[in-house]
């Protein structure tokens, strides 16, 4: 040991989280035959993609990005999707469930079926179509109770089911990626990150995120206690509804007719983080999907929802 040279400061929590995520990404690439990264265009996806670029630099990440599209995302999301894939030098695959398309499934008329067909079924179709045997997802354990118990390498049967009672033990930094033909694994490199970690990392690394996370004046309507943005002409206004310009931003992003905005003037990263920390409700309140029933996420996951 050369004691004359000062050793750098102890690693920070962000450095440790980054190292762990990069290790996970590389391990999958080394052991899986056909990995893919599920890219949802949200802030967690942005961080995951950034980590992948770091993990394989100077090579581009050696797998494609897959967006399971519902055709109902915000316009600003589609714009960032194209730009991010190009910047990373990665192939972008977009899958839209043909059945949902043919049946005209939409969030206005079909409620839960919309999520089920476009997202859950769409994802299974895409994984089967391309024969991916490992799929990275940006889920975090702090989001929801059932996620807290899911492994980083989460095994799926050939029919894409998750069995919470039969998970492989994960010890040290050793991940078992072995599987039979037809079976696959979902891998969650951000498992140990919290929402604040994600924001701090975006700030520290200067990662580009969808502008909708920042406050701006946007056309909105208030419906069922949610503030919805009128993002395009497909938005069906109820009789008497008139879009109102409000200064809003989004805490999470999904299909625009299902995603509630918050009124805000926070238009910088720092002020967004400040608002997040001062808020007294947890992140998922803005998403309609969790309100169905307490254990709804666990149930959806067993059925194959990411």
């Amino acid at each position: 040991m050369d004691s004359a040279t000062a050793s750098p400061a102890p690693l920070t929590h962000l450095q440790r989280l980054e190292a762990e995520s990069i290790h996970i990404l590389r391990e999958v690439v080394a052991e899986a035959e056909r990995p893919v990264m599920l890219y949802s265009i949200g802030k967690d996806s942005a961080v995951m993609l950034h980590l992948a670029r770091k993990a394989f630099y100077p090579a581009p990440p050696p797998f494609p990005l897959l967006h399971v599209d519902t055709t109902w995302k915000f316009k600003a999301m589609y714009e960032l999707r194209e730009r991010s894939a190009a910047k990373a030098g990665m192939e972008l695959l977009v899958h839209q469930n043909p059945e949902a398309k043919a049946r005209g499934i939409n969030p206005f008329d079909h409620g839960g079926l919309h999520t089920d067909l476009w997202k859950t079924e769409g994802l299974k179709q895409a994984l089967d179509k391309y024969g991916f045997d490992a799929a990275f997802g940006g889920a975090r354990r702090d989001e929801e109770k059932s996620r807290a118990k899911e492994r980083i390498f989460s095994f799926r049967t050939a029919s894409h089911r998750w069995d919470p009672k039969n998970q492989r033990p994960e010890l040290w930094r050793l991940y078992n990626a072995r599987k039979a033909k037809g079976e696959s694994i979902r891998v969650f490199p951000l498992s140990n990150w919290t929402e604040l970690d994600i924001w701090q990392y975006i700030l520290a690394e200067g990662i580009e995120i969808v502008p909708l996370y920042f406050a701006a004046t946007r056309p909105t309507v208030e419906r069922d206690g949610m503030l919805l943005m009128v993002d395009d002409e497909r938005f069906r206004l109820h009789p008497g509804e008139v879009p109102v310009e409000r200064s809003i931003r989004f805490r999470t992003l999904g299909c625009y007719p299902l995603t509630g905005a918050v009124e805000s003037t926070a238009n910088t990263l720092e002020s967004v983080i400040q608002e997040m920390l001062l808020t007294t409700t947890s992140e998922r309140q803005g998403r309609a999907i969790d309100h169905d029933q307490t254990a709804s996420m666990e149930k959806k996951k067993q059925e194959g929802y990411f």
Binding site: P10, I22, H23, A59, K145, S146, N176, N192, A295
Partner: protein
């Protein structure tokens, strides 16, 4: 009841707040205790007191507490922690759950593991990544069997910091005498199993005493408050930094011909460009040229970081190799003494080959019969033939090639391993290498001048292993004999291994238990492999009932040399023929473990050749086999 109350600094100066939190360190810890010790309550309390609970979660918690809580009308913090729906109904945590909270100094990852005996595997899993363990003791009950079990496992997994939290002090009137008595009893036990040091703290998770704030009710306690202690202990990565440099290579980065980077997570030590390094196991040396990173090269990297290194020389280095300090490299060996924790409902089969993954190396490994098992309740050693779910034992492990390692006590990254079943792909066990067996370090592969190719060429043939499998009396030996006659007539060099020449000699010491059957096939496989190395066409005729063993033999040989021939005779037909009268004896109970009757036969799923003996005569079968093999053989045959 107050929910999330944000830090005043967030509102007044967000940049200062973020700057402060940017430099937090990370501590991973484990809580051990049973349902009744108030473990979930303690974690819930830490989350609550460190302001990790939001208003919506708190209102859900309040209503849940009244509905299913165990604390009457008071808030049941345990409900914050218990996860999956089924568990919530049972009121027990049954898996490893990870929780997060942060203070100004640290981010914490808490592994919450259950205290039930049958869940040793979960605790070991949670302990493997922990810097610290909190052992909970109910002040009313004192040191229990499970306290000892948890402490033993935490110590076995090499957790450096142990906190003994004597909980529910509120229920013993905060009595110092109770606390002192428990600490004395614990100290005596700790010393007996080699625990050098621990930190005792009297707390009440329910009331909050000494959890995040000092308790007014226990002025006699001069030690640290739990949270202060968690904020100040040294974490593993910082300790590993002063050890010699080691980096298991995960992936070789080759975007083009001009760049060759070695990617991995630094297990220990520090590295700078210009440092001399040695590649293990080859032993070749080079120096580090660059530490490549997006946004610019680094001039130093330390334990715990994921990096990409380039070397000054074109040396062979791939996934599974270890890059190490040139003058203090780790060893390589292929036989070890190891402590193993079994994690699968199907028990360990000594002699069967499992995948062993250590660092980035995956090899085939055979575990010998355990020397002893350790009773986790008494720490007593008892003789054992195998290990069942949640058993811990010490055994010798033999790998099919040398692996680079360090004893677990020196390096968790290079001494901890998992075992994977080759057929189900399940993680069936985990273990810690204690040391390499001396004989292995001294026995090196003799490099041979006359290669297997040379042997085969001289005989003018391709070596083959024709592996006949099927029930007793299915006709394996009959058909194998006919095949060998035909090969002999064609001028081929062959040898038939069957029950007569193996069971009476080489394997005379083996019986017919599952374990002996596994060892029987392993030895036959090894002998057959040596014979193919000598260039022979080897035929074997054994029941070989288990797929795993047949797969193991297949893995010994180069691709394309192993032919699994399934002599498919239904059990009714074999029993009707009963050439040797064995079925009759088995039915009469005179033969134990008889395949097809009292012991299972696992038919091949995709054999190279399948012979249906109800439709094919032995002569026709032999012709088919020779033809099929000729068809894929090289013209040399």
């Amino acid at each position: 009841m107050t929910a999330y109350r944000p830090d005043a600094l967030i509102a007044s100066d967000i940049s200062a707040y973020l700057e402060l939190h940017q430099h937090k360190s990370l501590l991973r810890f484990l809580t051990c205790g049973s349902v009744d010790d108030g473990k979930s309550t303690l974690i819930g309390r830490l989350l609550y007191d460190s302001k990790q609970i939001f208003e919506d979660q708190l209102s859900a918690l309040e209503s849940d507490s009244k509905r299913v809580g165990t604390q009457g009308q008071a808030i049941d913090f345990a409900l914050l922690v218990d996860g999956l729906a089924a568990e919530r109904e049972q009121g027990i945590t049954i898996d490893v759950a990870y929780r997060f909270f942060a203070t100004e100094k640290r981010k914490f990852i808490v592994a919450d593991t259950p205290g039930h005996e049958q869940y040793t595997r979960n605790m070991v899993t949670g302990a493997s990544t922990a810097d610290l363990a909190v052992i909970l003791i109910d002040a009313r009950k004192g040191v229990l069997t499970q306290t000892k079990r948890h402490s033993f496992l935490a110590h076995l997994l090499g957790i450096r910091h142990l906190v003994v939290a004597v909980n529910k002090m509120d229920l013993v009137d905060y009595d110092q005498a109770v606390f002192d008595r428990i600490v004395d009893a614990y100290a005596e036990f700790a010393q007996s199993i080699g625990i050098q040091d621990f930190t005792p703290i009297p707390i009440s998770g329910f009331q909050g005493d000494n959890v995040t704030t000092r308790s007014d009710a226990m002025p006699w306690f001069g030690g640290p408050v739990l949270l202060d202690h968690l904020e100040s202990v040294e974490v593993n990565g910082d300790i590993d930094r002063i050890k010699p440099f080691r980096m298991p290579v995960q992936w070789v980065n080759r975007p083009n011909l001009d760049f060759r980077g070695f990617a991995g997570l630094i297990a220990s030590g520090t590295i700078r460009p210009g440092d001399p390094v040695r590649i293990l196991p080859s032993g070749r040396t080079s120096t580090v040229a660059r530490i490549v990173a997006m946004g610019g090269d680094k001039d130093i990297a330390v334990a715990g970081e994921s990096v990409t290194l380039t070397l000054a020389d074109e040396v062979d280095c791939s996934r599974g190799d270890v890059i190490a300090t040139a003058d203090a490299p780790p060893q390589a060996a292929d036989q070890f003494k190891a402590t193993i924790v079994w994690m699968d409902p199907a028990e360990l089969l000594p002699g069967r080959a499992y995948w062993l993954k250590l660092g980035t190396q995956t090899v085939s490994a055979v575990i010998r019969a355990p020397e002893y098992a350790i009773d986790v309740n008494t720490m007593a050693r008892a003789p054992a033939k195998t290990l069942a779910l949640n058993d811990i034992g010490v055994a010798e492990i033999v790998t099919d090639r040398g692996i680079v390692f360090e004893p677990y006590a020196e390096s968790h990254d290079l001494g901890g391993f998992i075992l994977i079943d080759k057929l189900t792909n399940a993680t069936v066990g985990a273990g810690m290498l204690d040391f390499a067996l001396r004989r292995a370090q001294n026995v090196h592969w003799q490099a041979v001048e006359i290669t297997r190719e040379a042997h085969a060429q001289q005989k003018g043939q391709q070596p083959r292993l024709l592996w006949f499998t099927g029930l007793s009396g299915s006709g394996k030996s009959t058909i194998a004999n006919l095949v060998e006659k035909k090969l002999h007539a064609l001028g081929k060099h062959s040898f038939l291994l069957d029950g007569d020449n193996i069971r009476h000699g080489l394997n005379r010491d083996l019986g017919f238990s599952d374990q002996d059957r596994v060892e029987n096939i392993r030895r036959i496989g090894e002998v057959a492999k040596l014979m193919t190395d000598a260039g022979l066409i080897v035929l074997t005729a054994f029941i070989s009932p288990f797929r795993a063993e047949r797969a193991m033999v297949r893995s010994l040989l180069p691709e394309g040399e192993f032919f699994e021939i399934f002599v498919d005779t239904p059990i009714e037909e074999a029993e009707r023929r009963d050439v040797k009268g064995l079925y009759k004896k088995a039915r009469a109970g005179e033969i134990a473990n008889f395949t097809g009757i009292s012991s299972p036969y696992e038919p091949p799923l995709a054999p190279e050749i399948r012979i249906d003996t109800t439709r094919t005569s032995p002569e026709e079968a032999a012709e088919q086999i020779v033809e099929a093999i000729m068809g894929v053989w090289s013209p040399m045959l």
